[in-house]
């Protein structure tokens, strides 16, 4: 188990380094930063001073070295628009997104696993049919439209919840509900499918021959086997949420990383964009590692 974690972590670090290189050189490909940051009519001397101050006159490889060195000290440079370290700006936004994603995914998994299992136990019956229709509709709902409709209906027309912001728990209801819909529909389908396979497997027959109760067969024997594909899809969906639920955060004015990234791109605040990319990708790498671990925990065939 220990060597498994070590190997996985090593792979993650390799990918992370790859991303680092990619992000740095891509950001340099967008042109001379001085031209982007400074006003169009800035005199040449100011531009030169700007370049000198930021080490932009050094060879690219030296710049990259500085970039990596600074990264290791969590120094992404100053946010141009906010006059504060970019890393601090990102660190403020990230917990909001993390929290939003965690709450949403917990609810999604709980709902999808319970309803999906019940649907698989009642294949072809009305419960299964209804849940299939709902999950299909949920999986194909466009979230910007749902978000706007939800605000219109529940916040404006009915006035049950606030339209945007984060002040009280009430503020969280709409963003969570809107983000919930799509992963829920998708994962419900996956749970149902893999539970049907698991419930018709030979080891379930053995369990019945042993006299095991149906509930234990479903939730002890079948569910653990059925969780493997579910975890893969859930991981994908969670990664999407961590990346910043850009649309939903923007619509609800939620101060998460998705909104921060969009704002920073529009303001050409590249230090913040860079920091946000590095933090979210780090988070996604950590989550993938956790998923691999969960896989290994659930299925001994991967462990040995």
């Amino acid at each position: 188990m220990g060597s498994f974690v070590l190997k996985r972590s090593l792979y993650s670090i390799i990918s992370l380094v790859g991303l680092l290189v990619l992000v740095f050189f891509l950001s340099r490909l967008t042109g001379d930063p001085a031209a982007l940051y400074l006003p169009v009519d800035a005199p040449a001397s100011v531009r030169e001073a700007f370049r000198e101050a930021r080490g932009l006159n050094d060879p690219l490889i030296v710049q990259f070295g500085d970039f990596v060195w600074n990264l290791l000290h969590f120094d992404f440079g100053e946010s141009l628009r906010r006059q504060r370290p970019a890393f601090d700006v990102v660190l403020e936004a990230f917990p909001w997104t993390l929290c939003l994603a965690a709450i949403t995914m917990s609810l999604v998994l709980l709902g999808a696993v319970v309803l999906g299992s019940l649907a698989a136990m009642n294949v072809g019956k009305s419960f299964d049919r209804i849940s299939s229709v709902i999950s299909l509709a949920a999986a194909s709902a466009p979230d910007f439209w749902v978000a706007l409709m939800a605000i219109f209906l529940f916040a404006v027309a009915l006035g049950w919840v606030p339209t945007s912001g984060t002040g009280t728990p009430w503020h969280w209801i709409l963003p969570v509900a809107v983000l919930f819909i799509r992963p829920f529909g998708l994962i419900l389908q996956v749970v149902r499918g893999s539970m049907i396979t698991a419930l018709s497997s030979a080891y379930v027959k053995t369990a019945r021959a042993k006299g095991v109760r149906q509930r234990a067969i479903t939730f002890v024997h079948a569910l653990r086997n059925a969780m493997l594909p579910v975890i893969t899809v859930a991981g994908d969906q969670a990664a999407g949420l961590l990346n910043g639920a850009v649309v939903v955060e923007s619509v609800f004015g939620f101060p998460g990383i998705g909104k921060l990234m969009i704002d920073s791109i529009l303001q050409r605040d590249f230090a913040v964009v860079l920091a946000a990319i590095m933090i979210t990708s780090l988070a996604i790498f950590i989550m993938n590692l956790l998923i691999d671990l969960a896989y290994a925990l659930l299925d001994p065939r991967i462990r040995y």
């Binding site: 027959k205 369990a207 653990r224 086997n225 659930l298 040995y304």
Partner: protein
């Protein structure tokens, strides 16, 4: 009537399949007492497994319905009992083991936990159940049970897994153990060990054993009484000796007549001419594991060489090497004076016409989305010079006729055929390119005895009519005895013995060949005692 421990009376089971009702079991009756072994003998689709599943409440309803009949356990009616009462009997009084133990053990829980669960669900405290699980593992012959109880199913061999299934069934000393094809997926030497274990356990615990099998050898070895089922009905019932020695029903007679290994041995039509294929010193490693060691043999035109061995012996790897599906580390395969392992892609492409393969499972080796016409004619669209397109249809029909299928079959899809017919399609496909050599990789192993006999007959007639040479990879010795000219016996990647069929079967020299022959079950209850003596003198190979 209630004297018997288990009594099945006039049982009928139907299945709904897409609007059609199939009568899987019709009016079946049998009974079982403690201490005896009853075999239900039948081919696939005979309803033998459904009958046993009905006893265990394992038929899925729907699509299945028990339409009539009664099943009683010690006079208690199982079919009119609550789910909870039924669960109390399942696993505790009547236990069951299955054909494929890897699939029937839950892959994600330790085996000790799974064995203990069979007792916990009937109310035994967890620590007591765990102790008993370790005892049972020891009893069924698992070494170091304390430690191995924490291991997972994939960490055991096939034979060990079946031992674990047996341990799982024994928790409460059941009155009845139902064994559904318990050894069909196992190698012969392992099969012999498992059957012996079941016999010992039956004698120790006094349980009744219900063996469901298609294998007449297993019946002859194990059963006191036998019922023979065909298309859902019991066609014959009686003591094993009566049924084998004087079968009354035509179906039973046909079944016993179809058993391989009864015909004459083929003798020397093969002359001294040079071999068409020479396999020389093949070696292959998979990681640390040496799967082929200096494998050498040759094949003459029109000859059949059987490569015999148990799983992991390297027999399929050898076949794959000859076909260039898997390259060995070193060695040579000389065909037409050239080493085909050294050929480039283009030459191998030409070679594919001369050497063809028929696989074990025609369900998996035929593309389900292609009609038979396309499956057979596909080779001609790949090797364009064989046949002009306007003659394809005609030739497909000829080939179908050759393998005993009808012209109208050309436009059907593989799923519309039975297993035996599918294997005929696979043979027609192989013949389409007019090969000189056909490699049969366990080509008849998955087929029922009577179908197996027909396919062997077909392969035999092709050999005579077309002069095809076969490399016949098999684990089933009686079939080899009937069909092959020469035999190569493999174990752990090494050829331990080779020679003419007569020599190998009548005067085996290597201890492993002797063990294989001793473990192979003869479908003759009289021979039972004779082999047991033989088995006692031969060291059975370790699983």
């Amino acid at each position: 009537m209630s004297d018997h421990v288990l009594q099945v009376s006039n049982l009928s089971v139907e299945f709904d399949t897409g609007g059609r009702r199939v009568k899987a079991v019709r009016d079946v009756s049998f009974h079982l007492d403690r201490g005896e072994t009853l075999a239900i003998l039948g081919e696939s689709g005979s309803g033998k497994s459904v009958s046993a599943s009905a006893v265990m409440n394992l038929i899925d309803c729907p699509p299945g319905h028990i339409t009539s009949g009664a099943i009683t356990y010690r006079g208690r009616d199982l079919l009119n009992m609550s789910e909870a009462e039924r669960r109390e009997i399942n696993g505790r009084k009547i236990a069951m083991i299955f054909q494929d133990p890897l699939a029937h053990l839950n892959p994600v829980y330790p085996v000790g936990w799974q064995i203990a669960e069979a007792m916990r669900v009937h109310g035994m405290p967890a620590d007591q159940a765990n102790r008993r699980a370790v005892e049972l593992m020891e009893r069924v012959g698992i070494n170091n049970p304390q430690k191995r109880a924490k291991a997972y199913p994939h960490q055991f061999s096939g034979g060990q897994r079946q031992r674990l299934m047996i341990a799982m069934a024994l928790g409460y000393d059941p009155d009845v153990l139902i064994a559904d094809e318990p050894t069909s997926a196992l190698d012969v030497t392992v099969q012999a060990q498992i059957l012996k274990l079941l016999q010992q356990l039956r004698d120790e615990t006094g349980m009744g054993l219900l063996m469901i099998t298609h294998d007449l050898g297993v019946v002859a070895e194990m059963a006191d009484r036998v019922i023979v089922m065909n298309s859902g009905q019991v066609v014959e019932a009686g003591t094993t000796r009566d049924v084998f020695k004087s079968p009354k029903h035509p179906y039973t007679q046909k079944l016993i007549g179809a058993v391989p290994g009864q015909g004459g041995i083929r003798t020397g039509k093969i002359g001294e001419e040079a071999p068409i294929l020479k396999v020389e010193k093949l070696n292959k490693h998979f990681g640390e594991y040496h799967v082929l060691r200096d494998v050498s043999f040759d094949l003459k035109a029109g000859e059949t060489v059987a490569v015999v061995g148990e799983s992991g012996s390297g027999k399929s790897t050898t076949a794959r090497a000859i076909l260039r599906l898997d390259d060995p580390d070193n060695g040579q395969v000389i065909y037409n004076g050239r080493d085909l392992l050294a050929m480039n892609e283009k030459e191998v492409f030409k070679l594919r016409r001369d050497i063809q393969m028929i696989f074990q499972d025609p369900t998996q080796s035929l593309n389900p989305r292609m009609p038979v016409y396309k499956i057979i004619s596909e080779a001609w669209s790949i090797h364009r010079d064989i046949l002009p397109k306007d003659r394809w249809r005609e030739r497909v029909l000829e080939l179908l006729d050759l393998v005993g299928l009808k012209p109208e079959h050309a436009d059907r899809y593989p799923h519309q055929f039975s297993g035996g017919q599918r294997q005929r399609i696979a043979i027609a496909r192989a013949l389409a390119v007019e090969p000189r050599i056909i490699i049969c990789d366990e080509a008849v192993s998955a087929l029922d005895v009577s179908v197996q006999a027909q396919v062997i007959k077909l392969l035999d007639s092709l050999r005579t009519r077309l002069g095809v040479a076969y490399i016949f990879i098999a684990h089933d010795l009686p079939v080899v005895r009937d069909f092959a000219d020469r035999v190569v016996v493999m174990k752990d990647g090494i050829i331990v013995e080779s020679g003419d069929v007569e020599q190998i079967f009548e005067r085996p020299a290597h201890p492993y060949t002797q063990a294989l022959l001793a473990a192979s079950l003869e479908p003759d209850p009289d021979a039972r005692d004779a082999w047991r003596a033989a088995q006692a003198t031969v060291q059975p190979s370790v699983q």
